[in-house]
């Protein structure tokens, strides 16, 4: 199931904004995790790195492929989920909470608002 309160990218990243905050939390959808197969490695960026909307910010490696993850908004990385690299099973167990990957301080929050809504993302998955 696709959580209703989140926003999405075509490339299967989810983005969460806490109420009125400029901080956007980013993770990977259930569907993408399923497609990747067993995840074996996550290469995190560093706090302070600048990211650009729809550009890659880190690499995730499964037994099948090493794939890039794309940023939903432009801004600066303010937090990374370091514990996740040691507990990759969290991706399967809790993709939308404990398996968050990075938090970005958005330069322009309008970029977040313009992301895909849950219904649209669901439609993409079915399409």
């Amino acid at each position: 199931m696709v959580p209703k309160e989140l926003k999405y990218l075509q490339s299967h990243e989810w983005a969460r904004r806490e109420k009125d905050s400029p901080i956007i939390t980013v993770g990977l959808t259930d569907y993408a995790i399923e497609q990747l197969g067993d995840i074996v490695f996550l290469e995190l960026p560093a706090v302070g790195d600048k990211v650009v909307k729809e550009s890659e910010f880190c690499t995730i490696e499964s037994v099948k492929a090493a794939s890039d993850l794309y940023a939903p908004v432009s801004g600066e990385i303010v937090e990374i989920n370091e514990g996740l690299t040691e507990n990759l099973e969290l991706f399967k167990a809790d993709p939308y909470e404990q398996a968050w990957i990075i938090k970005i301080k958005a330069d322009d929050i309008a970029e977040f608002e313009s992301l895909m809504k849950a219904e649209e993302y669901e439609k993409q998955l079915k399409g």
């Binding site: 490695f41 290469e43 560093a46 490696e61 099948k64 492929a65 090493a66 890039d68």
Partner: protein, 443 residues
Amino acid sequence: MPFIANTAQQRKQMLSEIGLSMDELFSDISSELMRENFNLPDQVGEMEVVKCLAELAQKNSTHLTCFLGGGFYDHFIPSAVYSIISRSEFYTAYTPYQPELSQGTLQGMYEYQSMICRLCGTEAANASLYDGGTALYEAMMMALRITRRNKIIIDDSVNPIYRVMIQSYTRNLNIELDKSHCTTGLANRDEIMSLLDEDTGAVILQNPNFFGCIDDFTEIAEAAHKKGALLIVSCYPISLGILKTPGEMGADIVTGEGQSLGIPMSFGGPYLGFMATRMKYVRKMPGRIVGKTTDTKGREGYVLTLQTREQHIRRDKATSNICSNEALCALTASVYLSLLGKDGLKETAQLCADKASYAYQRLTSIPAVKQRFKGKWFFNEFVIDLPTDAAEVIGSLIEKGFAAGFPLSRYYNNMENSMLIAVTEKRTKQEIGMLAEALEAVL
């Protein structure tokens, strides 16, 4: 190599299949790079071709007694090496992507990796790279990926050919290359320490260095680590039979040219780059890695591992796109090392060192010959200063049947009269004596 037919009729057919003309097919190549012709002679019969090529081959001076080193060395190769590697099961340079068909080759590569690790004193090695120079470049890029920095310090006692390669590869990559200058025969610690800062990704050194001197980089490794930088050491594998390993010195990435491990010297190769590192950096290491595993029935087997970082899967985003491996040369190295064994390698290294030491004494006892780096330890290569231009002296010694050494003026200022001489286990006391006499005669 098989003969592949390519008739006008076939070319026409292939072009019409893809719907292009010959010009369109090669339109990506800019016109100034396109040649009208290559000045090739008209076709002749096989007999004439063989005669012509044999005559050309005879121009090579393969009869010279070799004291020439500088990165490639004239070591003895047991005949069994070639007999084993030329078995048809082994005789290919191709990467065994399909493990179920390639267990023998994969096991050979796994053993090669294990031997490189033991030689270098490191935890993990890849299945080889193109040559010593590209291996060093790849190590540098790897260090910059790990540290996310863009400054490199390289001492000019690192093989100048490697340094030129690094310059060519990095010219357009926004990498700052800082050079420290070797004046005493050893890496310039003061300069390295003053250049080291929070932007430095790696310090690149070589042991034994290009002048043959032996160094211990332990304190440089510690200083680099304190600043968050890595130490990369390029080394000469035979010397590791008796020398302290780069791993023991604290090197993070170790590379080198593997030619000395059973591969003949030939102009242009094929040669063998090796690379080893700490386990924690293994995912940042370019190139193929063979791992040992068990199959569904619990039997031991070998596979290429961590392939998802590699160019056949990750294309332009791969860890490297010039990490061509040298599978057959790597196999050669592992066969050579197996045949020598632990004691044989030690003995070979000791023989090189002893004979070089004898040659040094013999040559520097010639009154006109001076020691360049007096009091410094060396492995099997050393620098002497002549009273005259070294390149000219080396030229006259070729006529006397010696490839006597390398003229350092080729890459270093103010070393016009300096010459680098290498001695391997193949050189006899008599040959060393004859070189000394010939040198004395031309001075």
